[in-house]
Amino acid sequence: MFSLRFLKIWVGGAILSLLVVCGVAAPLLAPRDPQAQTLEDRLRPPRWLENGSPAYSLGTDNLGRDMLSRIIYGSRISLMVGVATVLFAGLVGCTLGAVAGYFGSTADEIVSKISEIFLAFPFLLIAIAIMAFLGQGVGNLIMALMLSRWVQYCRVVRGEVLSLKERDFVSAAKALGGRDFYVLYRHVVPNTFASVTVIATFGMAIVIITEASLSFLGLGVPAHIPTWGSMLSEGRSYINRAPWLTIFPGLAIFITVFGINLLGDGLRDIFDPKLRRQR
């Protein structure tokens, strides 16, 4: 079982690394400009199908744009939005959770009430609501996703800090004269990193699917930026004539999210001793 756990981490990590490489090195990897239109080559199927051209490995869309290049460039948005959201939501959620859990009383009450309100919304709905009123844009998208995700980190960190602050090593640090904020950030918060890593990994998978859903609904980034969700939405009208327009972007989302979930599963198996007993 131990080796299987590591297999999950290796495979998941490899898929995530591939996403990072695609996103960072998109201009080097993409065979063409993702926006370049070649109208005489529009709706060309992938190279291995009849009428396919070796110049367009995954075919072209309704404006003659290269699908492979668009998918490679599309990974940039998924990666950027995923990482930025996880970082910002993690930072806000962990800070509020740690403060609420450690100091308790009024701080805890305020944070708990605010998180209760956010928890009363399904997170996709929060993101839809914010995007509906703020309009399309990468910054707005990251903010909408961050506002819908911070509460997960907050709850978990608060719960962990509540139990950690009663432990002997925290009392020892205080007895040695450590100030509250020092003890919190030097001794308590680092002990929540294992759980936070697991939530962040699963969170990134959720954020990537949510970003794709919002782009699919026309509520994500502006239409001229290629994203997997908007490619799916545009390709939908050609589903019977050119199914590759929807199959490949969908597969890209699926493989990425599957890889990240696999990595999250592997990390959880290692970090969660309760789960280890269950196996």
């Binding site: 996709l124 609501a129 009123f133 703020l134 309009g135 794709a212 589903i239 199959i247 699926f254 599957f258």
Partner: protein, 332 residues
Amino acid sequence: MNRLIRRTVGAIPVIIGISFLIFLLLHLAPGDPVTLMLGDNATPQDVENLRRELRLDQPILVQYGDFISRAVRGDFGKSLKFNEPVMKLVAERLPATLELAFASLLVAIMIAVPLGVYSAVKHNSLLDHAGMSIALIGVSLPNFWLGIMLIYFLGGQLNLLPVAGRIEYGIEIKSITGLYLLDSLLTGNLAAFWSAFQHLLMPAVTLGSALAAIVTRISRSSVLEVMRQDYVVTARAKGLNERTVIWRHILRNALITIVTILGLQLGALLSGSVVTETVFSYPGIGDLLIQSISARDYKLTQVLILMFAVTYFVVNLLIDILYSWIDPRIKF
């Protein structure tokens, strides 16, 4: 009963908080919402009239008080896009979303609970690993993509199922509850039942699949946890057959966790319906929400989001009540 009242009363500040946040969204919109709603061709008089109609010329707290007092009376004003009372539009479309949500829930339970229980009972077997791999794939599948693929294969290539709408054009159905499957059964209209069933199948599978994946994993771990309890060992020791042990002693106790997760996931189901309804042009609240957003009908958007949030909240309250039925040790 006391706890139930406490829980309901405790919900009031949260609902007020939700309504205030949703109310604030309109004011967060960049630019003037009235100009955005009316477009570039509106005259200053039109803008002024709409501003007065929406009471945007009043101070923000007065506007909020007005919004709440109207909401309590069920008066949400008129939709700009459809030029009809918002409540009428919601009442027309809500049954479609509820029917879809129930059907998806049913699909999820039917797949997930047996698969999860079986995986746990045979845990670490090949079937267990296969079941968990399927669940992982299910969690990772974007449901709108699954919907489009079902439309392509089952609707387009195999021509087995209709790809859009709620019922075949031309089939009349007498509305009693607004739930087509139920209404057609109540009126004995089998043609309508079959058509509504066919139209519901793909959207329900699309929406239910992600939930099924999550519930499978939870059912498995919950059953595994219960299987280690002393009372299960006792049940086996007194010679009960395995089926009775699983159904009466294990599953009944594992249900608490499963129902909790189902309740928590209902929110995802409701918001997921926005995407699924768009994919299948299914005329529910989610589809209406996207139409209202693209038409910049902020008033309707505000009310629909509020409705989603309140429905989610009420459902969670109902789940709490359901606990006492599943586990008589929990008293309200």
